[in-house]
């Protein structure tokens, strides 16, 4: 079975490394890291990952705007938002751009893995 591919868009090497260590032990492959939204958009078009894990607070265009641009270019993009800001208002902003999930930083590993699993299953069902 082919591994589900992930791309991480986060200016923090801490988050990127933690995510890589966690997900690669659990059947995913991280195929790209972008340190900001602009790089994330370029990389997405080049790599076409199955799932994008996107931080919200980043230099330049933030994660919400980046996700919105990606979804306009590719409405089938699967994006999971991460943020240290996880209040109801931020969740509303995430929903307003058509996404459903916002994982708080610092995340619980089992929550992140369960959400990725759900997104992977939904992608499979949609094929």
């Amino acid at each position: 079975m082919e591994k589900t591919t992930l791309m991480v868009v986060d200016d923090s090497p801490f988050a990127s490394k933690q995510i890589k260590d966690l997900v690669e032990e659990n059947g995913y492959e991280v195929i790209g890291y972008a340190k900001n939204g602009e790089e994330g958009i370029r990389m997405y078009e080049e790599l076409h990952p199955d799932i994008v894990i996107m931080d919200i607070i980043m230099p330049g265009i933030d994660g919400l705007e980046t996700a919105e641009i990606l979804l306009k270019k590719d409405p089938s993009a699967t994006i999971l938002m991460l943020s240290s800001l996880c209040d109801s208002g931020t969740l509303e902003e995430v929903k307003a751009i058509g996404l459903k999930y916002l994982i708080p930083k610092p995340w619980e590993d089992d929550v992140l893995l369960a959400t990725l699993e759900m997104l992977r299953n939904r992608r499979e069902e949609g094929k």
Binding site: S12, P13, F14, A15, M58, S84, L85, C86, P106
Partner: protein, 166 residues
């Protein structure tokens, strides 16, 4: 005004996040310990990290780390390995971003209003922040740990108050 103790919320968030991220217990030192001028001097030297919030809560938060604690945190966040010189600020940025994001999320939920975080800034030279940020007075949280000391300066105002608290 909502019954919200901003300083206590930051205190809880820094303690919880520090424990979760770097497995370190922050033990609060008496709030008013030390002379004001000594505390203000902490803003001007050593390893510091600053972040602002805007919206319902407008604030400036500055962390000042003792040398030992600074090294411990960046190494612990990088699986025990010292990060490259270029990456060091990114680790501390993430630390303060997560701790303050935790606090601001709680305040946003309590108030039912929105506040946002700025991109954090890292300082290590003798660059005076007291004047840069206009922080002449504010509130302090001081902690000791088994590794070293952490001082947190907070100056804030809540949108409904239209006045600075410090």
């Amino acid at each position: 005004m909502l019954n919200m103790d901003v300083k206590e919320i930051f205190d809880t968030s820094f303690c919880e996040v520090t424990k979760k991220l770097v497995k370190l217990e922050l033990k609060k030192v008496c709030d008013e310990e030390g002379k004001e001028e000594d505390k203000a001097d902490l803003l001007n030297k050593g390893y510091r990290e600053a972040i602002e919030t805007h919206g319902y809560i407008n604030s400036i938060v500055i962390c000042q780390f003792s040398d030992d604690l600074f090294r411990y945190i960046i190494n612990a966040m990088n699986n025990g390995v010292t990060p490259s010189k270029e990456e060091v600020p990114l680790y501390l940025n993430e630390y303060i971003n997560i701790a303050c994001g935790h606090a601001v999320s709680r305040m946003n939920n309590l108030a039912g209003q929105a506040s946002r975080l700025s991109i954090p800034s890292f300082y290590q030279e003798e660059e005076p922040l007291e004047d840069k940020w206009g922080v002449h007075s504010g509130r302090w949280l001081s902690y000791h740990t088994e590794i070293g000391r952490l001082h947190i300066f907070i100056k804030y105002s809540l949108q409904s108050e239209n006045e600075e608290v410090g």
